[in-house]
């Protein structure tokens, strides 16, 4: 309490312009990333989870799949990458935003001139960085241990790119939306993890799509994860593996359509349902 600040140090220039949403979004992104990486435990578990699962499943199930020309291990690499994208976006946002709401971080932000969109932008930046890292780690494990090759052509890299971006965005928006469901930060993990687990079972992450009952697969097809798995199989598996698919093809057009629709729908859902305060704060 030593410094004295006179009225003269206050900005007396004509009121400046409000900073733009994009630039605040960038600086929120930087802040979110810094906060994320300072929680060492969270970092380790976030990234290790899909890697451990990939290791378990791909090592336990490693048989040759007749007719498809691949091993079960190879099948698990794109599947776990899709699950990894969803866990860094949907799961981590769903839980962390619910906690931030409970701890009144959101209410405080709402009391500043920060534009709401800048908050969402910051979250998307965070998820982009963590999603990219997660994907890179899984890809490294997949290529070194389980005989998966990097995309062989520019077209495949391009497909990889848009599936990643659309899938990540759709899942991030769904995560933001589901964060409004739990009543408190404490219940957030259970509320978010259950639907994510169920989706992983019926979207072809843990269990190959050709063994999942048709009706379950159809429910899974309503959500982005099934299409992300399918798209990444299309990118990383040989053409011969198409026979395992429900329709016998990768359906890239349809994937783009479903994921794109979820991006738009997820955004609308967020704008309609997002709450800055918990229910008991009114």
């Amino acid at each position: 309490m030593s410094a004295t600040v006179s009225a003269g140090t206050r900005a007396e220039a004509p009121a400046g312009r409000l900073p733009g949403t994009w630039s605040i979004g960038l600086s929120r992104g930087a802040l979110e990333i810094r906060q994320f990486f300072r929680l060492r435990e969270q970092v380790v578990f976030t990234f290790a989870f899909p890697v451990v699962f990939l290791f378990l499943f791909a090592s336990i199930f490693s048989d040759d799949l007749r007719d498809a020309g691949i091993t079960a291990s190879q099948l698990y690499v794109p599947a776990m990458m899709a699950a990894g994208i969803m866990s860094t976006s949907f799961q981590s946002l769903g839980i962390s935003i619910a906690i931030e709401r409970d701890e009144k971080v959101l209410r405080r932000l709402r009391g500043t001139p920060m534009p709401p969109a800048a908050y969402f932008l910051g979250k998307i930046w965070l998820v982009l960085v963590t999603g990219l890292l997660e994907t890179a780690i899984l890809l490294t494990v997949g290529t070194t241990l389980y005989d998966v090759d990097l995309p062989s052509s520019a077209t495949k890299w391009f497909d990889f790119g848009w599936i990643f971006v659309l899938g990540l965005t759709a899942c991030a928006l769904l995560g933001i939306a589901i964060s409004s469901v739990p009543k408190s930060g404490r219940s957030a993990t259970s509320v978010v993890v259950l639907p994510f687990l169920v989706l992983q079972f019926i979207s072809g992450v843990y269990i190959s799509v050709d063994t999942i009952p048709e009706w379950m697969l159809n429910i899974g097809a309503l959500f982005p994860l099934k299409w992300m798995c399918q798209g990444l199989r299309g990118v990383f598996l040989p053409e011969s593996a198409k026979v395992l698919e429900q329709t016998g093809s990768w359906e890239f057009g349809r994937i783009a359509l479903v994921l794109g629709a979820w991006c738009v729908g997820g955004l609308v859902l967020c704008l309609l349902t997002f709450r800055w305060k918990t229910r008991r704060d009114g």
């Binding site: 206050r10 409000l18 971080v105 405080r108």
Partner: protein, 298 residues
């Protein structure tokens, strides 16, 4: 301040808010001048926080007119929010960041923020600038909250029970900080249930009880207006302590002098403290019952 006498930072008339069956705010009127430190004093659950949250633009109202810096907070724009600083009752800043990072970051939200380093020094966190927030004490966190409340250079600062849970030394330091901000010309509205705090800081104060303003004015004037009755205490010959509340204590003492024929045993004449006034005002809605309880205790 006199030049701004006509200008009000906050004008509220007939404000009402219900939560289900509970009426939290029941027709509150307030007029707060620019440059003033205004205290909203009342017991827990009197409707202070609800009133302030409505002024902040963070809670809807059921009825009444509200104008804060010339605009209705219910339709707050970014420009309006940049002129109003908020210090919440229960705060949480990002635990993993340092004080400096947080203050600098919040400065980016505002069109013409104050210098972050100056603000950190102003709230007395200069030595803690590079500490993670999770490592701060409760009082230090509260000062960080104030730093975040004033970083935008607000014209109006709204504080909701800022010193609840402080030890006396921390409270005094905090008062010093509020005075300094007031000296800079910031209009300050603070709620508190500490009478001493209201009396020390506020130029004017409103006493709220059960959702209504039961008294309003300068602290000294309030005491004057509502506390004209003095209390005369003495001890009867049989040892029973007695007391009497009266507007004319001299006459009472004169009568007692006659009765005791000289020295009055255990004589004490007390003017009511602001606390007495406050207790009577906030208990007033209970009517005579509270008075009886108070009488009985004497």
């Amino acid at each position: 301040m006199t030049t701004h006498a006509e200008e009000f930072a906050v004008e509220v008339s007939n404000l009402r808010k219900r939560y289900g069956d509970v009426t939290a705010v029941d027709g509150v009127d307030l007029a707060i001048r620019k440059g003033e430190v205004f205290g909203i004093l009342g017991p827990n659950g009197a409707g202070k926080s609800t009133t302030v949250e409505i002024l902040q633009g963070n809670r809807s109202r059921d009825a009444g007119e509200v104008s804060v810096l010339g605009a209705d907070p219910a339709s707050a724009t970014r420009a309006w929010r940049s002129r109003v600083g908020i210090v919440w009752q229960d705060e949480s800043a990002p635990a993993e960041l340092t004080v400096r990072e947080t203050v600098r970051h919040f400065a980016r939200y505002y069109p013409s923020p104050r210098n972050p380093e100056e603000v950190i020094a102003l709230v007395g966190l200069g030595e803690k600038a590079d500490s993670r927030i999770k490592a701060l004490s409760g009082g230090q966190r509260r000062r960080l909250d104030v730093a975040l409340g004033v970083i935008g250079g607000p014209e109006l600062l709204l504080l909701d029970e800022p010193t609840t849970g402080f030890d006396p030394a921390a409270r005094r330091q905090f008062w010093e900080l509020i005075r300094r901000l007031a000296d800079e010309g910031t209009t300050i509205v603070l709620t508190t249930h500490y009478l001493e705090e209201a009396e020390t800081l506020a130029h004017r104060l409103a006493v709220i009880a059960r959702g209504r303003v039961v008294a309003e004015g300068e602290p000294a004037a309030l005491r004057e207006r509502y506390g004209t009755e003095a209390t005369v205490e003495w001890t009867e010959a049989d040892g029973t302590p007695r007391s009497e509340r009266t507007a004319t204590p001299t006459r009472t003492v004169a009568e007692l002098m006659t009765r005791f024929d000289g020295e009055i045993p255990g004589l004490k004449v007390g003017r009511p403290s602001l606390e007495d006034v406050y207790l009577r005002l906030t208990g007033q809605t209970d009517g005579a019952r509270t008075d009886e309880v108070e009488e009985g205790r004497r």
